[in-house]
Symmetry: C2
Subunit: 183 residues, 2 copies
């Protein structure tokens, strides 16, 4: 049931950019008919990795979010460097955790914030794990610790607000959904 684009774009410009993001401001005719602007962020598409061990426990990292000014438990992941999502996932996983996985399953492709961003997120399930040492990384995201949690523990952490990142929660939803389809 795809329909027509209800917006008309009159002109486009980039009002800010740095190596990670571009900010667009388009001049538009709104669906309601008035003239206005639409500002949004373009960023590299990203990956999230659900790392599951043989007991179906999931691996989380404890990282600092600069915009939120807080430490949080999240799934490994990050922005693509322009490579394919599967390659980005393997690289991010190695950089952030040192883990090498033999089996990769794509769980879905979703949109991070569809009102204000262009970014898509691909979620992979990684299994068949070889736990390595975390490499020295220049990643902008500092990881202080990594740990497996059971699904029961994850549910308690979500209820307590200790896991509260949409990108992580979306990937957990896709994983839960995928798991139930296998039963």
């Amino acid at each position: 049931m795809q329909q027509e684009n209800p917006w008309k774009t009159l002109s486009k410009k980039i009002v800010y950019e740095n190596p990670w993001i571009k900010i667009h401001e388009d001049k538009v005719i709104q669906p309601q008919g008035g003239e206005g602007i639409y500002g949004y962020m373009e960023s590299r598409d990203s990956v999230q990795i659900v790392v599951a061990n043989e007991n179906d426990e999931i691996y989380f990292i404890y990282t600092y979010s600069y915009p939120s000014a807080s430490w949080n438990w999240e799934l490994p992941g990050g922005g693509s460097d322009g490579e394919e999502a599967i390659e980005a996932s393997k690289r991010e996983l190695a950089e952030e955790t040192g883990i090498i996985a033999r089996n990769w399953t794509k769980l879905g492709c979703t949109r991070v914030c569809n009102g204000l961003m262009t970014e898509h997120q691909v979620t992979y399930l990684a299994r068949g794990l070889n736990m390595g040492d975390r490499a020295e990384s220049d990643d902008e995201k500092l990881v202080s610790e990594g740990r497996f949690f059971s699904w029961q523990q994850i549910q308690e952490m979500v209820a307590a607000g200790e896991i509260n990142d949409n990108q992580t929660l979306t990937s957990l939803f896709l994983y839960d959904h995928w798991t139930k389809k296998q039963e």
Copy 2:
């Protein structure tokens, strides 16, 4: 296990703003020690509403995302106008769907994109429904249709990529989690 902020902020500036977003560029000392910048978007905190009827079906709207240039099934919701999240939820629900709900339950507060945004999202469950007519709305988000879907239908739409918005998927995860705790 809160720890110290590993970043040092040297200075802050706003490099772009419009009525909906502000783009920040902070000059920082990175965790690894080098000097650099961190750019991120400040936007109004938002709400998402899981509207459930007596058959536990969930209400979705079909809306157009300008940054994604696509029509999508999503939960009702949007940016706060500065009011409390519960008031924003009631207003957004009425504007986008015409529905009035008697019972409201807060399901969680999450972070929309913690690497690039400051935005928090509050998810509410709305029950005890009075289905009204959709008001004429100046909302920037055009809604073409609204419809209830069963959990089974939702799972099929997620698998098919027809529901692929992180904000919606996060709220569905919180709802599923909350529902299981009630059993």
